[in-house]
Amino acid sequence: MNSASLSLSRDDRPILIAALFILVILAAGTVYTFARFGSAPLLSPTYLLQQLQIGAFLGVVAAGMMIVILIGQIDLSVPWTLAAAAMMATSIGGPLAIPVGLAIGLLVGLVNGIGVAYLRVPSMIFTLGVNAVMRGLMVAHTGGYAPQTAATDLMRTLASDRTLGIPHALFVWAAVSVLVVVMLQRTALGRYIYAIGNKEAAAYLAGVDTRRVTVICFVICGGAAALAGVLLAGYSTKAYQGMGDAYLLPAIAAVVIGGTNILGGRGRYLGTLIGVVLIVLLNSVLSIMEMPEAGRQVIYGLVIIFMLLVYGRGERVVS
């Protein structure tokens, strides 16, 4: 029984620490705004909802990234998968816009998965190559200029509009989150994902088709990136070059800060969710403070190292 609580705390500790850190960020930000402007925007629901709406795009990307990290791989093709989905969706337009955008993501994921699972090329390098190819295709497609096409109404509605005051993007993020949680916790696929991340050889010898699962994970990640791209295009009313560049590293950081082991096999989706919120709030506090980009980057890096050092120390005490 004792060990049960230990195993719980092993996965929960990072989530707890990250949640506490969110409170620290909120508190510090509020103290700052109160002292400087005499107001506390960080505590206003409207402001928070708006921040979370922006965070939804990162959240969707991070959900897919987490699946791939759980099996001990990584997907560096996310930036241009996202951009390609957005660009193709806007240039196709009409009712097919969203299906085509998503299909692009699934296809990219399929290619990634085949390269990693069947050719056993390290995912780090294969997805990097696929990212370059997607970028090349998109640059060739658009001629290197900002695409002139616009997002469809449905895309805009999904990304920007609100129902009952809640942004639709949040509903999408919530739906993705529910799907991921159900998949990880309730389906055989979810078990296989954790098993492969823990010990691929053992999963293989247990008769799990590890290659198929690996491909599925990359397809999911590609699909999530594409969904984020479609949403982001809807939010910005158009697709643009490099729109995905700002999502790769924050997504990985959110997953890792949420306690998912970068080598795979361990981590809960709640952690990723909290990791995303942490990064989004950190960003908004820093922008309220008018922190220049330089300071943001430094703080950003230090936060990741700090969090991992704290998690790591806890782990050594347990072992």
Binding site: Y118, R120, A132, A201, L249, P292, I305
Partner: protein, 370 residues
């Protein structure tokens, strides 16, 4: 002896392939170029190759030890920004000050003239090396996976670079720029040696571009001795079989720290040159990212295994040159440069997929998981 050569070739088939690929591509390029095989073209190419070659060397060392350094581009960028302050070459020296959170701190005057330039170069390289050392310590003592550790430290270094150069700017001593980014003859003329480069014996080599000479010098004076040192071999051993390395009593922690430190040094060389070449410092985040990613591609094309233990920084130099030559072709053949990333990506994918065909020969599928 013939045997030995055959063995060496077989063991370095990746490097040999990269060298051959580069040679063929480069000859074709020069044949197609209207001013092909001229010093001017060589000089231009050398300048375009140098920084990537350095960053590729930087990436090689941690990869050999089974790590990955995602901060090489950031270190390069940061050092470049430092260089744009330290290498201005102002005769009277430059006042150094730090403006942070509204405070103004005067840090004294940096010496001018040649002393200042030499001191500046040393400082820049020291900064890069220190950044690499910090990476190594975070990985070894913080027990954080290299990928994620260098991702984070990379953000910090980029932050410092942005802090130094929120917008592109600064200045590099013009003579320094001229001397290092042209041919040996121009170098001699600028620093007034060999009768300003007019010495008779000097003429046959005066056409060689300085960047190529620097690459060779750095490879010979830094990489080769490192590879032959006990620590350097420990890097290979750790990447090959960490358990066996431990059983043999090798200094594993020191080897890993050394690998990241050396990576910082090489990345620093790249940043220094980039600043000198562009005569400015520029905290360009996308550029830093592109250099990091291309460094990984260069390492793979240069025949180094991402699993560690086998390969060489020399191969990575050629890997970097292959990548660059491909982009030269776009200029020559007037192909839309827009297609360039597409081809780069396809070439990278083809290279790694061909390398992965060995998977099909594995007879015990359990070995795939080790």
């Amino acid at each position: 002896m013939l045997d030995d050569v055959a063995i060496k070739v077989r063991q370095n088939v990746g490097i040999v392939t990269a060298v051959l690929l580069f040679s063929i591509l480069y000859v074709l390029y020069n044949l197609a170029h209207p001013r092909g095989f001229s010093s001017a073209v060589l000089v231009q190419n050398g300048n375009e190759i140098f920084a990537l070659a350095m960053v590729a060397m930087a990436q090689t060392v941690p990869v050999l030890a089974s790590g990955l350094d995602l901060s090489v581009g950031a270190v390069m960028t940061m050092v470049g920004c430092f260089a744009s302050y330290l290498l201005t070459g102002a005769a009277a020296g430059a006042p150094l000050h730090l403006d942070i959170f509204g405070l103004h701190l005067a840090l004294g005057t940096f010496p001018g003239g040649i002393t200042g330039i030499l001191l500046g170069i040393v400082l820049c390289l020291a900064i890069g090396t220190a950044a690499g050392f910090i990476n190594g310590c975070v990985v070894v003592y913080g027990r954080i996976q290299p990928i994620i550790a260098t991702l984070a430290t990379g953000a910090v270094y980029i932050g410092i670079a942005l802090f130094l150069r929120p917008t592109p700017g600064g200045k590099i001593d013009e003579d320094l720029n001229w001397a290092l980014t042209n041919s040996l003859g121009d170098f001699a003329a600028t620093v007034h040696i060999f009768d300003d480069g007019a010495a008779g014996w000097f003429a046959p080599i005066a056409w060689i571009p300085v960047p190529f000479v620097l690459i060779v010098l750095i490879a010979l004076l830094v990489w080769v001795p490192f590879r032959r040192s006990v620590l350097g071999r420990a890097v290979y051993a750790v990447g090959s079989a960490e358990g066996a390395a431990y059983m043999s009593g090798l200094p594993i922690d020191r080897a890993k720290i050394a690998a990241f430190t050396l990576a910082g040094f090489f990345a620093g060389c790249g940043g220094l040159f980039l600043a000198i070449q562009t005569s400015s410092g520029n905290a360009d985040i996308p550029q830093a990212g592109a250099y990091t990613l291309n460094s990984i591609a260069s390492v793979v094309i240069g025949g180094t295994s991402l699993l560690g233990g086998t390969g060489s920084a020399i191969g990575s130099i050629f890997g970097a040159m292959v990548l660059r030559v491909i982009s030269f072709f776009f200029r020559i053949f007037d192909i839309a440069p827009l297609l360039q990333p597409l081809f780069e990506g396809l070439i990278l994918l083809a290279a790694v997929s061909i390398g992965a065909l060995g998977v099909l020969r594995v007879k015990n599928t359990l070995e795939l998981f080790r």
